[in-house]
């Protein structure tokens, strides 16, 4: 297994190189450059063309394409992720400020959706065809069809404006930095994100548990005289969880990228908001690094999924 993991990790290197290069090419195709955004439009008339040129030279925007890409890559390996073209703040600092917020939100949502979703899935599989099962199925259908931000807006309308239970957005009130003080800010976005992910988890765990309950080894377990809950939960659920783990594993990248929309709805100061802001202002180094990290997380989590699947299901062999 160690061998397998090492081989996969080595395989990532060419992949990440290709991806980083593609992204660099894409960014080069953008209209305008950093200098256009660095200087406010009203101040632009006071700056001469030579001064603009000098600025471009200083920012390294005039080097040949491959040199710029090479510089960027070398910096990256040295842990220098570049600077925000707009504010001059190192991208590293920007990420260090926003990643904890995003992790907090998405880990809460991931845990909530996995536990809640598979719990509902198991309930509805064990009581197949009951009213509860059908209600949950309908909720699941609506859950995958409703746009995430619309769901967020409805939650805000209900819990903030109608019931007045929770704050409308942001991560904390000024000064209240303790976790328990921030908790009421976290609940609404985390539950919204979690519920919208739970719909998928529920569908998966339901169908996969139903599937495994029809298998021969379940009959064997039952004929051994094991108690019903043992048969269902220990023997059935263990294998049935495999596709759920795969689903959750593929959701890991959401830890950074997937909460983009929810962060916007709730004004959560995380990576997603930073990403949207930098896309709008064409702040190349910032959104490049975010996307780059995201891809790496995606690739790593797909390896993780393979490994966990093999651990869970004894029939799976890693090759």
């Amino acid at each position: 297994m160690l061998n397998y993991i090492l081989r996969k990790l080595l395989g990532l290197i060419p992949m990440t190189l290709i991806i980083s290069f593609m992204m660099f090419v894409g960014i080069e195709l953008m209209p305008g450059d950093a200098v256009d955004y660095l200087i406010p439009p009203d101040a632009l008339s006071t700056v001469s063309a030579e001064e603009l040129d000098a600025m471009r030279l200083e920012l390294g925007l005039k080097d040949p394409f491959l040199v710029r890409y090479g510089n960027w890559l070398v910096d990256l390996v040295h842990g220098d992720f570049g600077y925000s073209i707009q504010s001059g703040v190192p991208v590293k600092d920007l990420l260090a400020k926003t990643i904890p917020a995003t992790l907090e939100l998405s880990i809460a949502a991931l845990i909530f959706s996995t536990i809640f979703g598979s719990f509902l899935g198991v309930i509805s599989a064990l009581h197949k065809g009951s009213i509860g099962d059908n209600t949950l199925t309908v909720f699941g259908m609506v859950g995958v069809a409703i746009p995430q931000f619309l769901f967020g807006l409805i939650m805000i309308l209900l819990f903030v404006f109608k019931l007045n239970w929770l704050p409308v957005g942001g991560r904390m009130f000024p000064g209240n930095t303790q976790f328990y003080q921030r908790l009421n800010h976290l609940i609404l976005p985390a539950v919204t994100l979690g519920l919208s992910m739970a719909a998928g988890v529920m569908r998966y765990s339901r169908s996969s548990l139903l599937d495994s309950l029809n298998k021969d080894y379940i009959k064997t377990a039952r004929s051994k005289g094991l108690s019903e809950w043992r048969v269902n939960l220990i023997h059935g659920l263990r294998v049935a969880m495999t596709p759920v783990v795969v689903l959750v594993g593929f959701r890991l990248p959401m830890l950074i990228g997937g909460s983009v929309v929810i962060e916007q709805v709730f004004q959560w100061p995380g990576v997603g908001q930073l990403f949207v802001k930098s896309i709008r202002s064409q702040n190349t180094p910032v959104f490049m690094m975010i996307a780059f990290f995201d891809v790496i997380v995606v690739l790593l989590s797909s390896i993780l999924v393979d490994v966990v699947t093999a651990l869970l299901d004894p029939r799976v062999k890693l090759s």
């Binding site: 746009p147 619309l150 916007q264 949207v276 996307a291 995201d294 797909s302």
Partner: protein
């Protein structure tokens, strides 16, 4: 006695087969299976109804979606404006209908475009294998390692925001999925004996791939097109919400809901954004029902 009736049955079957009478029953079986699936029928009815409403919009509303009426701003639903008006007096009913034209067009157009590219490449490369296949496969792997919303936003930033750019982006990001699906279908069909027979006859590879193999993979392709349509409609609305979709002055379902970012509208003027939200959800659900129904119907292992 029993044997006799059985052989008689086989004789009629043989007779029918030879006369070419058996062909049509297969088609009606797919149709019958779809009709037996109540959800799929409901989905299809909703879908057709909404398409008629949107594309026949002038028949159902007298207002223009872009007419500004500053005397009637933020009017709640009443007899003249059945869904009320927004901040600058647009009639919401008209905006939902005309906006639906664009949202449906984006969703369906992108799905068909992605299918055309993905399926034709996948069919050919899946059958031929070789260089083309491995290059495209690698490319699709790269595309798929980006979270969709991140990839789409980056390309929006590069190309700029417009209706056609959005469709172009959806096709660009959507075809690798179609390619993989078509390719895997081809890989399994390739092993069938009738393909060997065709090869033995010396028939051109492209003819084998497109004329003899593709029709057998058409079921999953249609399922994929329907489900992608739903996905693209949802993505269009998310992008609009992030301010990266079709320019705001064009009415689309996503753009209509987008105004609810203004908290006063969100709280005080439900009629502006909620109907469009319900419409989008119901429409996507309808398409999903059709897709699921198609999948069951096209699956020959399920007897109906």
């Amino acid at each position: 006695m029993r044997k006799k009736s059985l052989s008689k049955k086989m004789d009629t079957l043989l007779y029918k087969e030879n006369k070419g009478l058996l062909k049509s029953s297969n088609k009606s079986r797919v149709l019958r299976k779809i009709l037996a699936n109540k959800l799929a029928v409901v989905g299809a009815i909703i879908f057709i109804l909404m398409v008629i409403l949107c594309y026949g919009a002038p028949l159902f509303t007298d207002y223009s979606p872009t007419a500004i009426d500053l005397r009637n701003r933020l009017v709640p639903p009443n007899s003249t404006h059945i869904l009320g008006t927004d901040k600058i007096g647009h009639d919401m009913w008209a905006r939902i209908l005309y906006g639906g034209r664009i949202s449906i067009f984006i969703g369906f157009g992108s799905a068909v475009g992605a299918a055309l590219i993905g399926v034709s490449l996948g069919t050919y490369a899946g059958y031929r294998g070789g260089m083309l296949d491995s290059v495209v496969m690698k490319f699709s792997e790269i595309m798929m390692s980006f979270p969709q919303i991140i990839l789409v936003s980056i390309i929006v930033a590069i190309t700029g925001q417009s209706l056609w750019n959005l469709i172009f982006i959806f096709i660009l990001t959507g075809w690798p999925g179609m390619y993989r699906m078509a390719r895997s279908q081809m890989l399994s069909i390739r092993e069938e004996e009738y393909i060997q027979a065709l090869q033995a006859f010396g028939i051109k590879k492209s003819i084998i791939a497109f004329k003899h193999m593709l029709p057998n993979a058409i079921g999953p392709i249609f399922v994929n097109i329907t489900l992608s349509t739903a996905m693209f409609i949802l993505q269009e609305s998310s992008l609009s919400f992030l301010g990266l979709g079709v320019p705001m002055e064009v009415a689309t379902w996503g753009n209509i809901i987008n105004v609810a970012q203004d908290l006063t509208i969100l709280r005080e003027a439900l009629w502006v954004w909620l109907p469009a939200g319900i419409v989008i959800t119901v429409f996507v659900m309808a398409i999903n029902f059709i897709g699921d129904g198609l999948r069951d119907a096209a699956d020959p292992t399920q007897v109906g």
